[in-house]
């Protein structure tokens, strides 16, 4: 980026009165925007602007979708204000976007002209030596009686071997190397733009989704099968990759010994899947090992228990039989869930309560001691009445709408029962029953499709290469000049000049001098460690 130059007073004086919007101001604005100083300020602003997003709960971000609502409940006065200024959605807020768009404009406005200059520099020869070489770094001079052409040819040969670009004239050798530094620098900055393209493609075409499937359950890659489906503006919702799978078995291993008992040591979801009209295949999905079908990836991101129950209604008919997803509440997999039986007759039935994989009852009530299903129990209460499904409004399968429901009572208290596998709770007055048949697990899959990620990855790699190149390579020039002295001989002078902030490689010039038969470097740059007297 270019250093900031103050606006030229002449430019403003030269404004034509007939032109209300002056070019001078436009140019000044542009130059200010594309100046290095502005870039630094914008970078700092970008860093500052990113901070609130890590301190306040964010919508559309990460782990807990309910976090923003919870925060609003806890801070009823503050939350509306924070919401108004976008603090709950920082990375999609206009002010955050404004900063990075300005930064990109600033960067592009600076990098493009710079690319042009590099292009010219690469095509032009190294410039001629400054008149006074003695003012440059590592200047050395000595007398020689060799022929000038011979000395210059030797210098050119040496420098070419050291991969300098070399121009030889009658009186001097001009050499330059390290053009790659600027190439790296430009690659770095331009790749940032490409990176943004990749992000944009993903944000415009990709999608994310989630689905929880119990063991034995099936999934077809159709939008209707997702628990949550978040399309982008241009997602081809009707063109999802044709894929179906069944979760055959979900295995978890927990540590029983060692310092962290109960910590899971292995998750694996064994599935049978079919892609398109292809044959059925078996595979195992694990954390960090997603199923990848034509760029649509299925990640194993969570799991829990799905107790299997059979419900009979007031007529004695089986009206529900199968696994019910219970959501884990803690590290020991105490889980809560709901069984809704809307087609039980004569009245609809619902059951609500806890599933405890290793149940125990403490002073606070029933709880789970261990995450594995060592002694699984269901603690349920029952409800009858109207589940509220008939009005056609969709509702969560994990929560009861209690408005039309009455809790089943026994002896004036809510009817509740703890069930082990195989046991049945029979509701009073022949209203129905629930049998705990067994325990299945469920797996949570995160599904993602991001066609832009290869672009992003390529850009990221280019950024890294460009950055490293620009920091490692030192662009520098070396001149060798030969001039006649008063006494029939010739004076050889060498000097170097770094075009970057870093010093050129220390012994570069002294080695050249040695190669040319000059004095064996008394003035060669000392080992930097010797420069300081204290060490």
């Amino acid at each position: 980026m270019t250093d900031l130059a103050p606006p030229q007073p002449e430019q403003q004086l030269n404004q034509r009165p007939s032109k209300p919007i002056s070019w001078g101001w436009f140019r000044w604005t542009w130059r200010t925007l594309t100046s290095m100083r502005t870039a630094v300020i914008l970078l700092v602003l970008l860093a500052l602007a990113a901070i609130p997003g890590s301190l306040f709960p964010q919508r559309n971000v990460a782990s807990d979708p309910a976090a923003v609502q919870q925060y609003a409940v806890r801070h009823p006065d503050l939350a509306p204000w924070l919401d108004r200024i976008g603090f709950f959605d920082v990375y999609a807020s206009p002010w955050f976007a404004a900063i990075y768009v300005l930064l990109l404009v600033s960067m592009t406005g600076c990098v493009l002209p710079r690319s042009l200059r590099l292009w010219r520099a690469v095509r032009s020869a190294p410039p001629s030596a400054p008149r006074n070489l003695a003012r440059l770094e590592d200047h050395q001079a000595w007398d020689t009686d060799r022929a000038p052409a011979e000395v210059l040819a030797a210098a050119a040969r040496y420098l070419r071997r050291k991969r300098f670009r070399v121009v030889v004239t009658d009186s001097e050798v001009r050499a330059e190397r390290g053009y790659l530094r600027e190439v790296g620098n430009l690659t770095f900055h331009l790749s940032l733009l490409v990176l943004l393209v990749g992000i944009a493609v993903g944000k415009l075409v990709g999608f994310e989704g989630r689905v929880a499937i119990a063991e034995g359950g099936t999934f077809a890659n159709d939008r209707s099968q997702y628990d949550v489906f978040t399309p982008s503006a241009w997602t081809d919702v009707d063109g999802l990759v044709p894929l179906s799978f069944r979760l055959d078995k979900f295995d978890v291993k927990y540590q029983v010994r060692g310092p962290n008992p109960g910590q899971p040591s292995q998750f694996s979801a064994r599935i049978t899947y079919q892609s398109g009209s292809g044959a059925q295949q078996r595979t195992t999905v694990r954390p960090n090992e997603p199923l990848d079908v034509d760029e649509t990836k299925f990640f194993l991101t969570g799991n829990g228990y799905a107790p299997r129950v059979t419900v009979r209604d007031g007529r004695g008919k089986v009206v529900f039989t199968g696994p019910v997803l219970f959501l884990p509440l803690d590290a020991n997999n105490s889980s809560e869930g709901v069984v809704k039986v809307p087609d039980a007759q004569p009245t609809q039935l619902a059951f609500e309560g806890l599933f405890l994989p290793t149940a125990d009852v403490g002073p606070q009530g029933p709880y789970s001691m261990f995450p594995d299903a060592l002694d699984p129990q269901l603690f349920l209460t029952a409800w009858t009445g109207d589940l509220g499904l008939e009005d056609g409004v969709p509702q969560s399968v994990f929560a009861l709408d209690r408005d039309g429901l009455t809790q089943v009572q026994a002896d004036g208290k809510p009817f509740a029962q703890a069930l082990e596998v195989g046991e049945t709770m029979t509701l009073p007055d022949g209203q129905g029953s629930l049998t705990f048949d067994g325990v299945s697990r469920f797996a949570n899959f995160q599904i993602a499709y991001d066609p832009g990620k290869e672009i992003t990855l390529t850009a990221a790699i280019a950024i890294l290469i460009g950055l490293t190149t620009s920091l490692i390579i030192r662009r520098r020039r070396i001149w060798v000049r030969i001039s006649p002295t008063q006494s029939s001989g010739f004076l050889v002078e060498t000097a170097g000049h770094s075009l970057t902030r870093r010093l050129p490689p220390s012994a570069e010039i002294s080695k050249l001098v040695t190669a040319l038969g000059g004095p064996t470097s008394p003035a060669a740059p000392a080992d930097p460690a010797d420069k300081d007297p204290h060490t």
Binding site: S224, Q274, T310, T321, V341
Partner: protein, 156 residues
């Protein structure tokens, strides 16, 4: 086109969609847990009963459900037409992919006698809309029929 697919029905019988070629078929994606499915179920039952004599066939595609609950749902709403079980419904859902997939629960797809997708309704469907879609599908099938045996023996 809708790809041919097969599966098992809630009543225990096998199902193959190619058996239904030549008839207009209404496919309905549903689940007993799905509240909007409950509002449309009586309308579907009505239209299915009314159009059975015209040779219109109805097939349900039960999803994300268990068979006992699905049968209880059929029982409550007097659904006379068969439904594919949840376990075998994946093939049915994907079969519509090359045309237009169901994309929501409930969805209703009307397939004409040639096995082409004629209409898709996302969300609950009402009886009059469904009748009109069935009529269109029957119409398009009938109008295309004369052109099919175009092997020269066409009679005026």
């Amino acid at each position: 086109m809708v790809e041919p697919f097969s599966g098992r029905l809630l009543d225990g019988n096998d199902f193959d969609s190619s058996d239904l070629l030549g008839a207009v078929v209404v496919y309905n994606v549903w689940g007993s847990w799905c509240a909007p499915c409950r509002t449309e179920a009586p309308e579907l039952a009505q239209v299915a009963a009314d159009t059975a004599d015209d040779g219109i066939r109805f097939v349900g595609i039960n999803v994300r459900d268990n068979d006992a609950a699905a049968r209880a749902f059929e029982d409550r709403y007097d659904l006379a037409y068969p439904s594919l079980t949840t376990d075998t419904s994946s093939a049915a859902l994907l079969a519509f992919g090359p045309a237009l997939p169901p994309s929501a629960v409930p969805s209703t797809m009307v397939v004409d006698a040639d096995g082409r997708l004629a209409a898709r309704v996302i969300g609950p469907v009402d009886a009059s809309t469904l009748r009109a879609l069935i009529a269109d599908a029957s119409q398009s099938t009938r109008s295309t029929q004369p052109t099919q045996p175009a092997s020269g023996t066409a009679t005026p």
